[in-house]
């Protein structure tokens, strides 16, 4: 069955802290939304595949976030865990329109 995505507004860009994460709850889902240094926005599942750490509180470097629990490095663009660790988190498409951030859930 084809999956249909819903576009939801989560915040205005200005409300997101730069180079930091924000916890966003959409229904049952908990996401970590990041405004990167280059101004783009990324959204990933707020749960490190290692031990479930909250990624929204990690240190953001470039397009990567470091999990605050055990320092796993995760790419916010494709959700892949960086070597030497392995795994991945779900990613969600984020767009900015008229100063507002929308996610496709």
């Amino acid at each position: 069955m084809e999956k249909t995505l819903e576009k939801v507004r989560i915040a205005s860009v200005a409300d997101l802290p730069e180079k930091m994460g924000k916890t966003v709850r959409v229904g049952e889902l908990e996401l970590a939304v990041f405004k990167l240094g280059n101004g783009t926005v990324r959204a990933i599942e707020n749960r490190c595949p290692h031990k479930g750490g909250v990624l929204a509180e990690g240190i953001v470097s470039g397009e990567h976030v470091f999990c605050p629990m055990h320092d796993w490095k995760i790419c916010t663009t494709d959700g892949k865990v960086q070597a030497p660790d392995v795994g991945c988190v779900s990613t969600y498409k984020a767009v900015i329109e008229d100063g507002d951030v929308y996610l496709f859930i």
């Binding site: 819903e6 409300d15 966003v24 229904g27 509180e57 030497p84």
Partner: protein, 803 residues
């Protein structure tokens, strides 16, 4: 009831320590009288050279101050010698015509410096180096004269020479043997020492025998028996000491080289004991402090009628720093036809080791430059271990490569991250790794606690063989750069860099935006260098410090309100209880640092909870002063000698919120029982009678380490001064995430002591820490008052969907 009377002749280290041992066993049994010729209380003679160097006062080296004698009800007669012992009537007669009766007499007259009886030895400007008076003579001479000569190149002579150099004099050291410290060192080590001291500015005249001290009244020069003459304004004789036995001899007590004693330090006369440098036990007269203290203990037990095995002699060992050079020697050091040796000599690094073996057993050792093996050698030599035991242990320690070689591939190297030897070796080979950092990045080994790092180094060496280069193991601050901490800090200072991004750009970071290691480090260094201008970057802080709470594994936080010195009140407790109820706190726990910790608090609830608490942050999460743990101290405790709570509260109020390279834990105990565990804190203060001892570099964590005694001070103000200076020096010098324990080990306690011994340096450090403290803000209050911060960091966006 009249008490039994003990009379001690000699108010020095061995004698007074013996009295302490006696009081420990029988606090109130004896009436004690002490005669001392010097007009001072018992001081640490070993540290006399520090007084000579001018940076230490007599008070600093005092072991038992006047109050101690008073509190112990000891009758002390300073500046009064004993002229005669009447062993028949059991009394002593003194230089002030006093007669005192004894039940037990302890002779601890120590030794007298040996003055070579050459013509002119009584000239003005000729002195020994034995007591405070001698030090004063030398200090006075340095103010008027320029040229000093020390006769004797043993430990004492070299210390005197170092002191005279520090006093600005030109120093000749005249020595009879052809190398220095021939009692403790062999020729190789002795010559290495000479070279080092020459670099420091001492001049040596070896194999020279003094024939005459020249000069009419005051000394003008020295003539040697080969006819050569030198000019000098001061002569310090440090050629040796001999047991001070004349009083015993005249009183009919058996004397050989020293006063003859048995294993309980009894002389041949009943109820007369001798202890310390004046005593001869099994044909040996000891001059080092450890054996003397052992003797005192054995004697005290005997005097107090407690069964004890007695003193059985000591294997001599010396571990010392001669002008900053580490030297160790134990047991036999002179080879003969029956001995074999293990030797290691590295002229380049200035390291030398010799182990002497007799009949296959460990018999003695000399270490120069690196004395880290000293304790192990002492233990083995003391028990006359088989040399095999040493070689086995040495291989394990020195040649770790063979240890890792013997490990199974499946054995874990890194316990934290579960990385086996096989995994690391495979990665080294497959990816061509050559450094620890690469192994860390590739396999995670040593990424957490770092305890296995030496094993990783060994494994690299083992796997790469000759291809392993130890010189490129300089530690880059992280994988984003090849620059070390020092290089980065220097660049920040020199180029005036102002924020993390600029540092990374200017210094050509290899990654975009750094990583979780360098960003917090850079943020710290920038703030440390420019406390007033730098704006702390929240995005470069680790979660706990950004959120001002301790994150837990489920993403909730713990909240620890400030409770200065671990002292609280009913009101505060009530407030905490109410807050815990209101926010449904699932766990309330008392921490190791004497605080109350509220666990399981949701991120969104933090600001509200802090507002309700209306207490400052306890900083249980920060790289800063965590807590000052205190014992109850003199206000309630029957042992407390100081007001530890007030001291601790004062320290905590002063230093709270200051950013440091890693967390800093402190404690203040009111007495050496140390109920606040000051011995395992970064800075631990211990109250002693009339002052405080400050310990540094302790740690109760992964790498347990007892703190080192840093200094002894008198007042609370001095505690604050030393603590501030130490903290600031640590802030400026340590690597980010380096605890004081590791830092103290890396740079050396002596180095820190030396830097902080200068008052002007301490003042400057304190001024800088005060500046840094002046811009700190109460973080919880800041959050409560700023809607922006609350929104950005603490609120969760709730979005509804149609699904």
């Amino acid at each position: 009831m009249t008490k039994e009377k003990i009379v001690l002749i000699g108010n020095g280290m061995a004698g007074v320590r013996s009295i302490e041992e006696i009081i420990k066993i029988n606090p109130d049994r004896f009436h004690i009288t002490i005669f001392g010729e010097e007009p001072y209380p018992n001081y640490n003679r070993i540290q006399l050279s520090k007084v000579l160097q001018g940076d230490t006062t007599i008070a600093d080296i005092t072991l038992n101050d006047w109050n101690w004698y008073e509190e112990q009800n000891i009758q002390l007669y300073p500046g009064e010698g004993v002229t005669r012992i009447d062993t028949e009537t059991k009394c002593v007669h003194t230089t002030k015509d006093r007669t005192v009766q004894y039940d037990k007499l302890i002779i601890a007259t120590g030794s007298v410096p040996f003055i070579i009886p050459v013509p002119g030895h009584e000239n003005e400007g000729v002195t020994a180096f034995r007591d405070i008076k001698d030090c004063e003579k030398m200090i006075d001479a340095s103010k008027q004269y320029k040229k000093a000569s020390v006769i004797g190149g043993g430990l004492l002579g070299l210390e005197a020479a170092r002191g005279l150099l520090n006093l600005g004099m030109e120093v000749n050291v005249i020595h009879l043997a052809d190398f220095l410290m021939e009692r403790q060192l062999d020729e190789t080590a002795g010559k290495m020492l000479q070279k080092e001291l020459e670099k420091q500015g001492m001049n040596f005249l070896m194999k020279k025998q003094t024939a005459e001290i020249l000069g009419e009244n005051r000394v003008e020069g020295i003539r040697f028996n080969d006819g050569e003459e030198i000019e000098t304004d001061l002569v310090v004789m440090a050629v040796g000491i001999r047991p001070n036995t004349s009083l015993a001899k005249e009183s009919g007590i058996a004397v050989n080289r020293g006063i003859l004693v048995n294993d309980f330090m009894e002389t041949n006369i009943p109820d007369v004991y001798a202890v310390g440098e004046c005593a001869e036990h099994r044909e040996i007269v000891y001059g080092l402090v450890a054996p003397l203290y052992e003797q005192g203990k054995a004697m005290a037990a005997h005097i107090c009628d407690t069964p004890a095995p007695g003193y059985a002699g000591s294997v001599l060992s010396t571990q010392l720093k001669v002008s900053g050079v580490d030297v160790f020697s134990v047991g036999e050091i002179v080879e003969d036809e029956e001995t074999k040796t293990i030797k290691m000599f590295d002229d380049w690094k200035g390291v030398y080791k010799k182990v002497l073996i007799r009949d296959g057993k460990m018999a003695g050792a000399v270490l120069f430059g690196d004395t880290s093996e000293g304790n192990k050698l002492l233990r083995l030599i003391n028990k006359k271990a088989d040399v095999e035991e040493y070689i086995g242990a040495a291989e394990e320690a020195a040649d770790g490569a063979s240890l890792v070689a013997s490990m199974d591939d499946s054995e874990l190297i890194c316990g934290c991250n579960g990385v086996s030897k096989g995994t690391i070796m495979e990665a080294i080979k497959r990816d061509g790794l050559t450094t620890v950092d690469q192994v860390k990045a590739c396999t995670s080994a040593s990424r957490s606690c770092g305890g296995c790092k030496p094993l990783v180094v060994d494994l690299l060496a083992h796997t790469l063989g000759d291809g392993f280069d130890t010189s490129n193991q300089k530690e880059a601050i992280c994988g984003c750069t090849t620059l070390s901490r020092d290089e980065v800090v220097e660049a920040i200072r020199e180029k005036g860099l102002t924020h993390t991004k600029e540092v990374m750009n200017v210094l050509s970071w290899e990654t975009d935006g750094g990583c979780s290691k360098c960003r917090p480090a850079l943020n710290y260094y920038l703030g440390m260098i420019n406390p007033k201008e730098y704006e702390d970057e929240k995005a470069s802080k680790f979660v706990n410090e950004r959120m001002h709470g301790n994150i837990q594994k489920d993403g909730t936080y713990s909240v620890v309100p400030r409770m200065y010195g671990g002292v609280t009140s009913a009101d505060d407790l009530r407030k905490i209880a109410d807050v815990a109820d209101k926010y449904n706190v699932p766990l309330i726990k008392v921490t190791g640092g004497q605080r109350i910790d509220l666990f399981g608090v949701k991120k969104e609830d933090l600001p509200g909870m802090w507002a309700d608490l209306d207490m400052p942050s306890g900083y249980a999460y920060g790289k800063t002063l965590r807590t000052v743990k205190t014992c109850v101290g003199e206000s309630f405790c029957r042992f407390g000698t100081q007001d530890s709570m007030s001291m601790g509260i004062q320290m905590e109020k002063k230093f709270e919120r200051i950013g440091t390279p890693h967390k800093v834990k402190m404690a203040v105990s009111a007495c050496p029982r140390n109920c606040a565990e000051s011995g395992i804190k970064d800075i631990g203060v211990v109250g002693v009678d009339g002052g405080w001892e400050i310990y540094v570099g302790g740690n109760g964590g992964t790498h347990l380490r007892a703190a080192d005694l840093f200094c002894k001070v008198k007042t609370n103000e001095e505690v604050m001064e030393m603590t501030g200076a130490f903290m600031q020096y640590y802030r400026e010098d340590a690597v980010y995430l380096e605890r004081t324990a590791a830092w103290v080990e890396r740079v050396g306690l002596d180095h820190i002591k030396e830097v902080l011994s200068d008052k002007a340096t301490r003042d400057a450090l304190n001024a800088r820490i005060d500046e840094a403290l002046s811009v700190t803000k109460e973080p919880w209050k800041e959050v409560i008052e700023s809607e922006k911060i609350r929104k950005e960091l603490y609120e969760t966006e709730l979005v509804s969907t149609t699904k």
